[in-house]
């Protein structure tokens, strides 16, 4: 009788630790995601696109709200000033001041890089895909500078419309996303996003430098450097409308 109970208890822990592992991984990812997005944020950053024979930089003002609304507007250089991209729900719109038109992005543009960067329009449109479309498992932890870093493997749910075969995340115990690696279905790395230069901003720590790097071309990457990022409680919904995209107050 006692033995059976022992076995049951052990099994229970074994099973639940699996479930716990998964649950834990999901919680970790969700927390990291919420931490990254905040409830709402306003930021200014400089994006640099680097290729083997040229480099391009632009200054971008970004508003985010909740898990899925985002507004990006380019402020520098003067040539691209006023160009904006709005993402709400599932749709993405672009505005160009020169033609003074808001155009909805059709499927054929979705896999193209946003503004020519290594972040595809799809990456931006499906920014909450990590939460919705993947099943996460904790693979392990490692220690770095006194902090624990969770290594998580994310596999796409069977019917999820995502092109990746696997994503690997490393998230610090204080919910900071350190890296996100994208793999194809043969589990070969395609690109990797890394974040570093963690500093205090508003009231929390946040990595100020981000880089999206192609795995098979060392000198092709896109780098984001935050000049300023403020996490706030809320932003008006009207900011994330097409009308505002057009007159983003610039």
């Amino acid at each position: 009788m006692r033995r059976t109970m022992l076995i049951v208890v052990i099994l229970f822990f074994a099973v639940s630790s699996q479930v716990l592992a998964q649950m834990n991984a999901e919680t970790i990812v969700k927390n990291a995601f919420d931490y990254w997005r905040g409830e709402a944020s306003v930021s200014t950053s400089i994006m640099t696109i680097h290729r083997s024979d040229w480099e391009r930089s632009m200054t971008i003002k970004t508003w985010t709200r909740g898990e899925s609304d985002s507004l990006f507007v380019i402020t520098k250089p003067a040539k691209d000033r006023g160009n904006g991209t709005l993402k709400t729900g599932n749709g993405m719109w672009m505005y160009n001041p020169k033609v003074n038109r808001v155009i909805k992005l059709p499927p054929s543009m979705m896999s193209q890089g946003w503004q020519g960067s290594d972040f595809s329009n799809n990456d931006l449109a499906k920014s909450d895909s990590l939460i919705k479309d993947y099943v996460h498992t904790l693979e392990g932890t490692k220690a770095d500078q006194g902090k624990n870093i969770y290594l998580i493997k994310s596999m796409p749910k069977p019917d999820a419309p995502v092109i990746w075969g696997m994503i690997k995340l490393s998230i610090r115990e204080d919910n900071i996303l350190l890296s996100e690696a994208f793999f194809d279905e043969d589990f070969k790395a395609v690109k990797i996003m890394t974040a570093w230069d963690i500093r205090k901003t508003s009231d929390k720590l946040f990595p100020m430098k981000w880089k999206m790097q192609k795995s098979d071309a060392i000198d092709e990457y896109t780098q984001f450097v935050y000049e300023k990022i403020d996490f706030i409680k809320s932003l008006r919904k009207t900011i994330f409308t097409r009308a505002n995209l057009k007159n983003s107050g610039l």
């Binding site: 391009r56 160009n96 020169k98 033609v99 155009i103 890089g113």
Partner: protein
């Protein structure tokens, strides 16, 4: 030598009707071959020239790799340099520069993905037929930068007409957003559905500005003076580029590399044509075989006498061969002359084949087809006729050698 020839000539005219019929048969075959070959080659030339004039040109100068993958970053950095080189090469009829990029085009009602091509209106009119394909509105003028030409199908799909505005949105050479508003100036109809549905043309300067190209372009389209000049022109351009190191990244593909299907289609057609011609010649050969046979057998007695008085078999063989050669040569020459005249007549007037307008229009070929007389078309066919007739005249001659004089003389 000449006595056999003289005798041969006299011999064949001993039976004028038969000789004339034989000559007529050979002349007919030669004439048909000259005309048909000229027609076939003329058609090919027309097809090639028309196809290349619509968009690809006889040859092009592009960045290496552009042919396989049209990335907007694979540019010709300094078109002026290329122009300098081309101006020194002989055999070039005209050239122009183009730049292109995949973009979204948006009207009030619809949005489509298209290829936007920036053209130099003046130079382009000399190289391609686009100006003549405008059905509505006008062609672009020299300083037009933000006006556009679109295909008929595209204008229908976008539900726009002349003077309507289109927005194009794409990605520039440096990755930035390329956006512009274009006013529709002209609508063209090339007959090629793919082209009419997916292409918008605008001024090159406007394109370069919109797509952040600076002064670079993607393609240099070159038309040579004639199809035959293409290979030489290509060599010369390549040599010039090899010398100037900055231009070492440029490739010079010709129309055969750009449109391999066209070449293969023509090759296949040529092969099938040749098979038909050979069959025709064989039929003619059998047709006249009897003549050559008769020429020997009817005169068995005569040959017997000749052998009896000491003519060597070799000399007799020579005689008979000369007879055949004379008839054949007269026939061929006659055929070439008549065939060339007929060809030249149609080369001028063109041949109109009822019911083929649609299929020709699809390939942009004018509805009249023109045969083209050339050295090859005038001689290749008759030459083969000559060879095959020659072969068929050999057989009776072989019999000749086996003749015994006494037998022969008594045959009568």
């Amino acid at each position: 030598m000449s006595i056999e020839l003289k005798m041969a000539w006299r011999n064949i005219w001993r039976n004028p009707r038969r000789t004339l019929l034989t000559i007529a048969a050979i002349a007919f075959a030669s004439m048909i071959l000259v005309f048909m070959l000229s027609f076939q080659l003329g058609c090919y030339e027309t097809m090639i020239n028309t196809s290349v004039k619509i968009s690809t040109g006889h040859l092009q100068v592009q960045a290496k790799g552009y042919l396989d993958d049209k990335k907007i970053r694979l540019v010709i950095k300094d078109p002026d340099q290329v122009a300098k080189v081309l101006d020194t090469v002989k055999g070039i009829d005209a050239y122009t520069f183009r730049a292109s990029g995949f973009s979204l085009v948006s009207s009030n009602k619809r949005t489509y993905g298209v290829v936007v091509i920036g053209i130099d209106p003046i130079k382009e009119a000399r190289v391609s037929t686009i100006k003549s394909l405008i059905r509505k509105g006008n062609y672009l003028k020299k300083d037009d930068e933000y006006t556009a030409l679109i295909g008929e199908h595209l204008s229908n799909n976008l539900k726009v007409d002349i003077n309507d505005e289109l927005i194009i949105l794409g990605q520039g050479r440096d990755g930035s957003i390329a956006a512009a508003v274009l006013t529709i100036k002209g609508i063209f109809d090339s007959g090629i559905d793919e082209f009419d549905r997916n292409v918008i043309m605008m001024g090159l300067k406007g394109f370069q500005e919109t797509f952040s190209m600076g002064k670079s372009v993607h393609e240099t389209i070159i038309t040579a003076d004639s199809l035959g000049d293409v290979a030489r022109v290509k060599q010369e351009i390549k040599a010039c580029f090899a010398n100037a190191r900055e231009d070492g990244y440029l490739a010079v593909p010709d129309w055969m590399e750009i449109m391999p299907g066209l070449l293969q289609g023509i090759q296949m057609d040529l092969v099938s044509g040749i098979i038909m011609y050979i069959i025709l010649i064989i039929v003619v050969a059998f047709s006249i075989f009897n003549t050559f046979l008769m020429a020997v057998f009817e005169r068995t007695r005569e040959f017997g006498v000749m052998m009896a008085i000491g003519t060597s078999p070799l000399r007799m063989t020579k005689l008979v061969m000369f007879e055949s050669i004379c008839m054949t040569t007269v026939g061929i020459v006659l055929g070439i002359i008549v065939g060339s005249l007929v060809t030249l007549y149609f080369q001028n007037k063109g041949i109109y084949i009822a019911g083929t307008e649609d299929i020709l229009k699809q390939y942009g070929i004018p509805d009249r087809l023109y045969p083209r007389l050339s050295l090859i078309s005038a001689s290749a066919g008759p030459l083969i006729v000559f060879m095959i007739t020659f072969v068929s005249s050999v057989f009776p001659v072989l019999k000749l050698r086996k003749l015994k004089p006494v037998e022969a003389m008594t045959k009568g």
